[in-house]
Amino acid sequence: MSIEVRDIAKSFGAFRALDGISLDLPKGELIALLGPSGCGKTTLLRIIAGLEKADAGTIRLSGADATDKHVRERQVGFVFQHYALFRHMSVFENVAFGLRVKPRGQRPSEKEIRERVMRLLDLVQLGWLAERFPSQLSGGQRQRVALARALAVEPQVLLLDEPFGALDAKVRKELRRWLRRLHDELYISSIFVTHDQEEALEVADRIVLMNKGRIEQIGRPREVYEHPATAFAMSFIGTANEFRGRVEGANLRVGNDLLPHGQAGLEDGSPFVGYARPHDTEIVAEDTTGLGIAAKVSRILANGAAVRVELVANGPAREGVTDYFEVDLTAAEIAARGLTPGQRVRIRSRRLSLFAEPRR
């Protein structure tokens, strides 16, 4: 089922949770709504499901207006962050619930219900737990039951609200892969909400990046990671070193230092913020050209062959904030350069993404 979201707005009291959201989600994709907490992503998901009513705007499901349609009739499967399993029912009955509450005419026979539920439980690899109660399951198992329960009514779209948020890191990683496989098998349009960029980058076909009730960028994971559309997108997705300053010819003046920005046609004196990924940042000796941000190596964190170097800005703290930088090198490079904690160096970027800032 395709989903069209048009100019959705929603406020809670004085707080604008959603501010004119428009989205087009084609059929069959797995989409991540990504953003920091409080950005409105869960509210948007709940509005699509019909659990929350928008103040303005329309939702179209499969081309038909569903704005005023009841949750029951929208044919959405919803998976809650805290599972929301029926605590007094066995796993089997939880999954069977959606079938049992169907109007008498559409309700499958007891035999069909049994077959369908067992098939779904096998799909989520929990057939052997059918008679258990939710309280006897681990978090990961509960979430898979919740998913089977949502799939039992054959929804046109699957909505997942932070599905792995309450699980520990290892289970989360497993379930992520598993969700991706399941989606490729069933090919059902799915939207999942997450604040974990790694999760979004790894699982989703497309990412909808949200901030403060607005959409910052929509794109394929690679696209969003490599070509962030806004300063927020750059800083939220992946790690990035931030340099805030004003243009001075071919350089950006950051505090007392000059950072080459490598771009032409920028107006002198205009404020910009530049971002560089750790692997696009380089460490140079302190005394060569005077170009680059003065910094001091604070820690060298080895993680196999890759090494992350943490540095602290050397200059006077700007506005009371100490700047930290991260640079990715290989163990061999560290050894060849003889970098040690406490050493004074300069950092430069091989590829700086610049975003204009409002003039003050």
Binding site: A49, L51, V71, R72, V76, G77, F78, F80, H82, A84, L85, F86, R87, H88, F97, G98, V101, K102, F133, P134, S135, Q136, S138, A146, R149, A150, A152, V153
Partner: protein, 299 residues
């Protein structure tokens, strides 16, 4: 449910054992002795002794007098009226209580805090005042008095007044029992049921009701005990007409005032018995609810 489970007696006794086991946290013997003596002594003097006294007084003149006092027509009428009142008031408050708790726990609306405070009103108002309110509204000199007497409807000094006063006094029991539980359980399960296609009634019957059944039963038991035992409010609206508008508590008072001590205590012993049965059922329900709660506690 974690929060609720943490405060169950089971959890308490486990932590008490831990406290006892450690030398560092164990209290000296005499502290334990003093606390126990004071606690149990108070219990014996103020609770156990009166209870025993009721039964002793009731049987003082033997079985014959006891039974005679209970099968006497006025007593039978009082028992019937008490049962009738409870049979009307408890189901009414069951419906009101569930509706009010449902509204408070599952919906956001303006005036919710006011509603919660209003639910507590019958607890904070003296029962006598509650009774007077009904006399003021429905009595012969009251606001609706002339209209009611024109249409030959009797409320005050009649059974409807007694039922109304009882409903008022016992209103909070069920709602108060359900609201915290339903608030703690949240709306997730109901929302899940609706997304799975359940109607409002199906959601209530299959999801909400099973989750609250023990608390609901507990509330009903307490509500019933109070409905049968209520004195103040009923006394004001009843008019004390023997054989007609006397409930059991009122009948006890009349007998006592007429120096028929054995008969008074005989009827009173029925009320005391009701209290004991209520306690037993309540304990049983608490145990069941706790077991259900323990099963539901996330691990």
């Amino acid at each position: 449910m974690t929060a609720a489970a943490a405060t169950t007696p089971l959890a308490h006794s486990a932590s008490a054992r831990r406290l006892e086991a450690s030398l560092a946290t164990r209290d000296p013997g005499w502290v334990k002795a003093v606390v126990l003596t004071v606690g149990l002594g108070f219990f014996a003097v103020f609770l156990l002794m009166p209870l025993i006294a009721v039964f002793l007084e009731a049987f003082r003149k033997g079985w014959q007098t006891y039974l005679a006092a209970l099968v006497e027509p006025d007593a039978l009428s009082a028992i019937r009226l008490t049962l009738l009142t409870a049979a009307i008031a408890v189901p009414l408050n069951l419906v009101f209580g569930v509706a009010a708790a449902w509204a408070v726990a599952k919906f956001d609306f303006r005036g919710k805090q006011l509603l919660i405070s209003l639910i507590d009103l019958p607890f904070s108002v003296s029962p006598v005042v509650a009774g007077l309110i009904y006399v003021l509204v429905f009595g012969a000199q009251g606001w609706l008095g002339p209209w009611l007497s024109d249409h030959d409807i009797r409320i005050v000094f009649a059974v409807p007044g007694i039922v109304l006063a009882t409903v008022f006094v016992t209103f909070p029991f069920i709602a108060r029992e359900l609201i915290p539980l339903m608030q703690a359980q949240g709306r997730d399960e109901e929302e899940a049921a609706v997304t799975l296609g359940a109607s409002g009634w199906q959601t209530f019957r299959r999801v909400t009701l099973p989750n609250i059944k023990w608390a609901l039963l507990y509330g009903v038991i307490l509500c019933n005990a109070r409905a049968m035992g209520e004195f103040g409010a009923v006394s004001v609206v009843s008019g004390h007409i023997r054989g007609e508008t006397n409930t059991m508590p009122l009948h006890v008072e009349i007998l006592y005032n007429e120096y028929q001590f054995a008969a008074a205590f005989a009827v009173a012993s029925l009320l005391a018995l009701l209290a004991l049965v209520t306690l037993a059922v309540k304990t049983f329900i608490e145990r069941r609810a706790k077991r259900a709660g323990a099963e539901e506690t996330p691990t």
